[in-house]
């Protein structure tokens, strides 16, 4: 294993990790507000095809990103309508969103399959830093979307923990009735949280098709939306821990196709199972902890809120 191979691996670890991080941050925001959205996979696929189409059409990755965000956000509003406004079952609605999103993306993208790559998100002009050995390519030469993901992570932490909006959002996710009596609008908070989650899933889709897969094909998301959902649990609904988990899970994604070239005789299928195995392990630890203290999961997650009436 020479330096070139290791650097190539590390570049992908960071890139895949931050792509997962974008989607996971969106899911984290929605779940912190008490809405489980299992539609991440579908929103990523739709975001991916929207980015590929608009990126090709307008020749600009920025436009691709914006359109992907709009597409993901619009799709998530279906979930917001069914599960938040109308109070339907969050699991059923989210699963439906994934199935619908995957189908919609396959249909919309059938003319783009195996088309040549479109413009990618470029690196930031960091000059000599990009030339540094190992950390140059692994860190400073990453696309600006990767840096943007890091900024969004810090921003999410700041908003959740240090602002009144975040306090209200977390309250809505812990006890909607309490937040309501404190004068916080439950429905508005949740709809916005789900919408932001959809936009970020769309961004992740754009990252995937423009920079990582470098093209569109049906099934390009390959379960990565589900990994993002697992990642939120793995990261204990905290932006920081989720970032660590994202690099770990991103590492597994990057490792999977390389195993054979490294001469390691482990089935890649086993490796692709690992994120879920790790998540189950973390869930077991949480369950043991929660015998002593309240669960780390937002307490109102999955529960629709209706004001009590007599």
């Amino acid at each position: 294993m020479n330096e070139v191979t290791v650097v190539g691996l590390l570049v992908d670890v960071v890139a895949f990790g931050l792509m997962l991080y974008l989607a996971a941050l969106g899911e984290l925001i929605a779940e912190k507000a008490g809405v489980l959205n299992l539609g991440v996979e579908g929103m990523m696929a739709v975001g991916g095809v929207a980015a590929f189409w608009s990126g090709t059409e307008f020749g600009s990755p920025v436009i691709g990103l914006i359109i992907a965000g709009i597409a993901g956000g619009l799709l998530s509003l279906i979930h917001a309508l069914v599960a938040v406004v109308l109070g339907g079952d969050q699991v059923v609605s989210g699963l439906a969103l994934t199935i619908f999103g995957l189908g919609l993306a396959a249909f919309a993208g059938k003319d783009y399959v195996s088309l040549p790559a479109v413009p990618q998100f470029g690196a930031l002009p960091l000059g000599p830093l990009r030339e540094l050995r190992i950390i140059g390519p692994v860190v400073f030469n990453q696309s600006w979307l990767a840096w943007f993901a890091v900024v969004l992570g810090l921003g999410t932490w700041f908003v959740l923990e240090r602002t009144s909006i975040g306090l209200g959002l977390r309250a809505v996710g812990e006890s909607a009735a309490t937040a309501d009596t404190a004068g916080r609008s439950v429905v508005r908070t949740r709809v916005i949280a789900v919408g932001v989650g959809g936009i970020l899933a769309g961004f992740a889709g754009a990252y995937l098709t423009l920079n990582l897969a470098k093209g569109w094909s049906e099934g390009v998301t390959a379960g990565r939306g589900w990994i993002a959902v697992a990642l939120v649990i793995f990261g204990a609904w905290r932006p920081g821990r989720t970032a660590v988990g994202a690099l770990l899970f991103g590492g597994l994604l990057a490792l999977e196709p390389r195993l054979q070239t490294f001469g390691v005789n482990i089935s890649p299928i086993l490796v692709s199972m690992l994120p879920y195995v790790l998540t189950i392990g973390v869930l077991i630890i949480f369950s043991i902890q929660s015998r002593r203290r309240p669960s780390v999961a937002p307490a109102a997650i999955g529960r629709a809120y209706r004001r009590e009436e007599r």
Binding site: R170, S175, G183, P294
Partner: protein, 512 residues
């Protein structure tokens, strides 16, 4: 101070709370029928009344939860029209509900700041401000602790802090001492006095005479949704006149149901000795209760709701564990065994929460009817549907349950039919003793009569009955003996023929 107007310092700048001629109707119930309430600023005002007297409804009107059908709400002379609790809060009225609205994983400061906070939340700063506010009113708390660590008394102080943080001028406390230990209750009394000195109006809902005379200045008594005593000084309250005000001067003697076979007290079918039960917060809910029920005897349990009746029934049935004490059913000691073996020993329980504990709303009539007796309609592991239907038909006919069809979900049945089905099922096992908790609550007159007939029939045939009811007339009509529970203890016992509304009512309010 130049001119003395006779006003307390707190009265400056307003004339407090005035609710006049408040009417509130719900389907089938008139909760408030022209109720009134007048509270001066700077005073602690008790609102007293039996369960169902309309206390909570009236407070919910003041707190903006309900809109009154008629009547006016005035604060400091200005007529108010609240559409939501948020409106009431903005006008300075806050209510601390019996079930706290707190987020366990938030700190004290975060819970308090949730009501109103600057755009940027600086934790240290908010914690500092919350601590200062708490100190000002003598509320002991630790602002940076997460609420799940706190005792019930501390959680209540956080609720009060939330109201003070929003600068509520009128604070409603709904049965605030129900969840507190006696020491915590005394502490609350001091806090309430401090808030009143600050010029705020405190409304203290209670049914405990002792704490009302200790903590409050004036009292309003409600009965049947109307105000029967308005703003009387608590010095004039004593156990006798309070009981009379709360339950009414009902001179009409309840018609006792005639019995052919008198109870046989020498052969008890249920003996409970020194039972002690803790609730989920570790507070004693049943405190050393001993009672015995003879063959064919009906023992009534009277008491204001929440004085340990339900945990007593659950513990006798084996649904919750008791800390101490023994239960003997028809000569079998069942203290150490679970509900199933207690049923086998001859115990039957008609629980208070019919659709929650007794019946499964989405299952059919037949399915619900055989829940106690799968074995009798089983062929090995399979259910003999025809036998189950036959058994159910017999039950439905015997107890006159009106059903659309045996295989329809029971959710559509009326309260009376549900209760007849449940009682019928419970009696099908030929019990030696029945615990009937609020068996006629929510039923219409005919439904009440039908259930009471069934209970008397059972007693006539030698079954012992523990009847827990909030309906005094029902207890007086059916019981051979009435015991009164206050704060988990049996405080009084009356033979059925000597019991009167006044006597039992007085014991219920702790007038000893």
């Amino acid at each position: 101070m130049s001119i003395t107007t006779g006003a307390a310092p707190g009265e400056v700048g307003g004339d407090g709370v005035h609710l006049e001629n408040i009417w509130k109707r719900f389907p089938g119930v008139i909760a408030n029928a022209g109720a009134e309430l007048h509270v001066r600023p700077g005073s602690v005002h008790a609102v007293l009344g039996e369960n169902g007297a309309g206390k909570t409804t009236l407070m919910n009107v003041l707190a903006g939860v309900y809109r009154p059908d008629e009547g006016t709400v005035r604060l400091n002379g200005i007529e108010q029209n609240f559409n939501s609790p948020a409106d009431a809060l903005a006008a300075g009225v806050a209510m601390v509900h019996q079930e706290f609205r707190l987020i366990p994983t938030f700190t004290v400061a975060e819970n308090v700041a949730l009501g109103s906070s600057p755009v940027l939340v600086r934790k240290r700063e908010i914690e500092q401000q919350v601590s200062e506010l708490a100190d000002r009113f003598g509320l002991q708390t630790t602002a940076n602790r997460e609420v799940w660590n706190l005792s019930m008394g501390e959680r209540q102080r956080v609720e009060i802090l939330k109201a003070l943080w929003r600068d509520a001028r009128v604070l409603i406390l709904d049965e605030p001492t129900a969840v507190l230990t006696p020491d915590e209750a005394d502490e609350l009394g001091r806090i309430v006095a401090t808030m009143a000195e600050d010029g705020r109006s405190i409304i203290f809902i209670s049914h405990k005479l002792g704490e009302v005379t200790r903590f409050c200045d004036t009292a309003t008594v409600l009965r049947g949704g109307a105000t029967v005593a308005s703003s009387m000084a608590v010095e004039h309250l004593d156990a006798a006149n309070l009981a009379e005000l709360m339950v009414g001067e009902n001179t009409e003697v309840s018609q006792r149901r005639a019995r052919v076979h008198p109870a046989d007290l020498d052969t008890p079918v249920l003996t409970v000795a020194d039972m002690r039960v803790l609730d989920s917060h570790g507070i004693t809910s049943v405190d050393g209760v001993s009672l015995s029920i003879g063959t064919g005897e009906v023992v009534g349990v009277a008491g204001v709701a929440g004085n340990g009746q339900r945990p007593l029934a659950d513990a006798i049935a084996g649904l919750v564990d008791s800390e101490e004490g023994s239960v003997v059913v028809a000569a079998t000691d069942v203290s150490a065994v679970g509900p199933k073996d207690r049923i086998a020993a001859g115990l039957s329980y008609v629980p208070e929460d019919r659709l929650g504990v007794g019946l499964a709303p989405k299952l059919s009539v037949t399915e619900n009817s055989m829940m106690r007796s799968y074995a009798s309609v089983g062929r090995g592991p399979l259910i003999d549907r025809a036998a189950a239907d036959a058994q159910c038909t017999e039950l439905v006919d015997r107890y006159r349950v009106k059903v659309g069809g045996l295989h329809h979900a029971i959710a559509g049945l009326s309260g009376g039919n549900l209760q007849r089905l449940l009682v019928g099922r419970e009696l099908a096992t030929d019990p030696a003793v029945i615990i009937a908790a609020q068996p006629t609550r929510g039923l219409d007159v005919q439904g009440v009569r039908a259930i009471q007939d069934v209970l008397i029939d059972q007693a006539e045939s030698g079954v012992g009955i523990l009847l827990i009811s909030e309906d005094l007339d029902e207890l007086l009509a059916l019981s051979d003996r009435i015991v009164v529970m206050v704060e988990g203890r049996i405080v009084a016992e009356f033979p059925g023929e000597e019991a009167t509304r006044a006597l039992v009512g007085q014991a219920m309010t702790g007038g000893a």
